[in-house]
Symmetry: C2
């Protein structure tokens, strides 16, 4: 089993997550089609309960609603669809390790898989850092949906992906075109292209951010 | 709302529980028939998820079973029937605050109510002491059922209660007949009687224990 890619490590750092036990995080990001032995299923089982308690505690503390109302809110906030929405909002789809066939079948955009991996990541965080830091992470990641803002604010890369699909174009392709500056202050320039449409570039202090800004720039120009 | 009775406080201490916020524990032990405003329902909502995560973590750590097996085991260990069984094994029924009608309707022996109060206590403990100490409490209380020992080892008071009902007798009555010694080393003597059958006495350093021993003595003599 290979290690966590630098890309994925940067992305986790942006979420405020520092992996201690890399194997947990690799497993959480691995679909059974990529590796049958060490995939996200057991961590998803655990993460499902981590999420449930995190949200239950939050609801309990925030309002004095009767039990029936709390259960109803909780069910909506932990549903597979909500987990998938949160997963997309943080750019999770890029980091899932999928087998070739699953990739071609569109697994990267499956609500079921995105929701499960989202929960598996919470399971990994719980084992790695304990309950309270994980509860705090849930509160950051779920802040928008908890506030009832179930609007359509998509991650720029998801928005571009959907735009391309909706316009019967090939999926966008990201390419690192330059890496400048010393290691402690590196600058990454990424170009995103959609075949037969055009391309856009952006620069940032990490690749994730540069991709996000490039997607935004592309959408401004062509979207 | 009155405070926690000394009886209930002693019982909690025997379980290793020291209430910080008394109101939580009173609410956890209060059925809606006793007090509509501050009953166990919201704490049960929370405790349900505390129990779920505690057992999920335990199962995850104990064995390498696939997710389906873990879910199956978890569902059995957190079911209302299992919660009620654990509640009986620790003598919880005596400590539930019920309205008169509910008492007469046998609420004290209802699996639903016992299971809910058991979960509400875990919710109170979680708010009072945090996740890890509560998880440790679950591991103590669920040790027998987790080990697959779903046998019929009942609390002596429950066993006597059931024996009386099964023999068409009035329920056993417990009476404190003596309290000796200085406060820091008090000795409690309890007599348990079943009308038209007989009585038995026992002495211990707290009333709970004396009642338990008296019930045992009664069953040895008459059961």
């Amino acid at each position: 089993m290979s290690g966590i890619s630098q890309d994925t490590r940067d992305w986790l750092a942006q979420l405020g997550v520092i992996p201690q036990d890399d194997r947990l995080w690799l497993a959480a990001l691995t679909h059974g089609s990529y590796e049958a032995d060490r995939n996200y299923e057991r961590l998803e089982f655990l993460g499902d309960r981590v999420l449930g308690l995190s949200i239950a505690e939050w609801l309990y503390a925030e309002n004095n609603a009767p039990e029936g109302k709390l259960s109803q809110r909780l069910n909506a906030l932990v549903s597979g669809a909500t987990c998938a929405r949160v997963a997309r909002s943080i750019g999770l789809p890029d980091h899932i390790r999928l087998g070739k066939q699953a990739r071609e079948d569109g697994a990267r955009d499956s609500d079921n898989i995105l929701g499960d991996v989202m929960e598996a990541l919470l399971g990994a965080h719980f084992l790695d850092h304990g309950f309270e830091p994980t509860r705090d992470l849930v509160r950051r990641l779920w802040a928008d949906v908890f506030a009832g803002d179930l609007g359509e604010r998509k991650h720029p890369k998801s928005a571009l992906q959907e735009w391309a699909a909706g316009n019967r174009r090939k999926p966008p392709e990201y390419e690192l075109v330059a890496r400048d500056g010393p290691d402690h202050a590196a600058r990454f320039t990424v170009r995103v292209s959609v075949l037969n449409v055009g391309s856009a570039e952006a620069t940032a202090s990490n690749k994730q951010e540069a991709e996000k800004l490039a997607a935004e720039a592309f959408m401004e120009q062509f979207g």
